[in-house]
Amino acid sequence: MRRLIFPGLFFLLSTCLAQEAKTVRLADLQKLMNEKSEKIQVINFWATWCGPCVKELPVFEKLRAEGRPDVKVTLVSLDLDLDPNPAKVYRFISKKNIQAQVLLLDEPDANSWISKIDKEWSGALPATILINHKTGKRRFVGRALEEGELETYLREIQ
């Protein structure tokens, strides 16, 4: 009996802990970006198929793990643009044990919304935006971040 209880508990616990990546539309994302938040929003656009994105994900995980009260990290997956099935993203999140909040953007007609995220953005992945509502400052980076770059930008938009 005990032999059954332990794996059962483990299963239950891991199901509860595994985060649910919510599928969102552009309006939800804009709400997050325009939210009058006390925290600096760090929003990273990525996809499971994107090598440089996957390589830089630990940078954002590390920032989240620091637990800074003034920073909120959100990872926005664009996987659905190419593949409507989110299963691959769910598997990826659980395999890599990603704890930061993941959102799946489901929005057709990319040309109609890419510039609404940021005028500078070409649509190429990865891309990262830092928004500080308190100072009104904003920083867009349309490429993978280099070592230490995120910290620099966080200081810049204080």
Partner: protein
């Protein structure tokens, strides 16, 4: 208050200038000639197309899932428009050191496997990709020939549905080429799409 608006205006102009210069061609710009090695080993120049009505230049690669999704659509573009005077020329600017699947050898095997009947050029120095301001793969530039010049008429995505070609209800490149073939203004001159960033050497 006035000072604020002046400052805002100047800031805006500086930002505009920064985004306009040094980031590649815009619609209406004349393209500098280039000469790159094709998968058959021969050199291909833009000036080789002096008898064409125009050229559909597409920055592409082997490895990007968007390039894979659009591969048959690119082949179909050439089948449809080469005979009408708008051949396709594909260029791979990816750094093969960062992305080994995009090496010249891999390009040759890809072109052979998919029976490319159009150039697939190797932008080894990435100078052509930089000059165009290519950012994604695939990234299309429709060029119209004017005398011996090639002028940019459209920049952006091939259509508006990467997932499924049959669900694309805006075929940007086809619409641009059709308009140019009938001497009409290009309906949409610039679009954006989600895609793989080009692997630059210094990135």
């Amino acid at each position: 208050m006035k000072i604020f608006s002046v400052v805002a205006l100047i800031t805006g102009l500086v930002a505009l200038a920064a985004s306009t210069f040094g980031q590649g061609y815009e619609v209406g710009d004349t393209v500098s000639d280039f000469k790159l090695k094709n998968v058959d080993g021969k050199m291909v120049s833009l000036s080789d197309f002096k008898r064409s009505t125009g050229v559909i230049v597409i920055f592409d690669c082997n490895t990007c899932p968007y390039s894979k999704a659009y591969n048959d659509r690119i082949i179909a573009l050439n089948s449809k428009y080469a005979s009408k005077g708008f051949p396709v020329v594909t260029i791979n600017s990816n750094d093969a050191e960062s992305s080994p699947g995009d090496s010249f050898e891999q390009m040759v095997s890809k072109a052979r496997k998919k029976k490319y009947d159009f150039p697939y050029l190797w932008d080894d120095t990435q100078k052509v990709g930089r000059a165009f301001g290519a950012t994604n793969t695939p990234h299309a530039f429709v060029l119209k020939r004017q005398g011996s010049d090639f002028v940019v008429a459209y920049i952006g995505a091939i259509d508006n549905n990467a997932r499924n070609a049959s669900l694309a209800d805006k075929k940007y490149v086809e619409d641009a080429v059709n308009a140019l073939l009938s001497d009409k203004p290009v309906p949409v001159e610039k679009t954006k799409a989600v895609g793989c960033g080009i692997w630059w050497k210094d990135a």
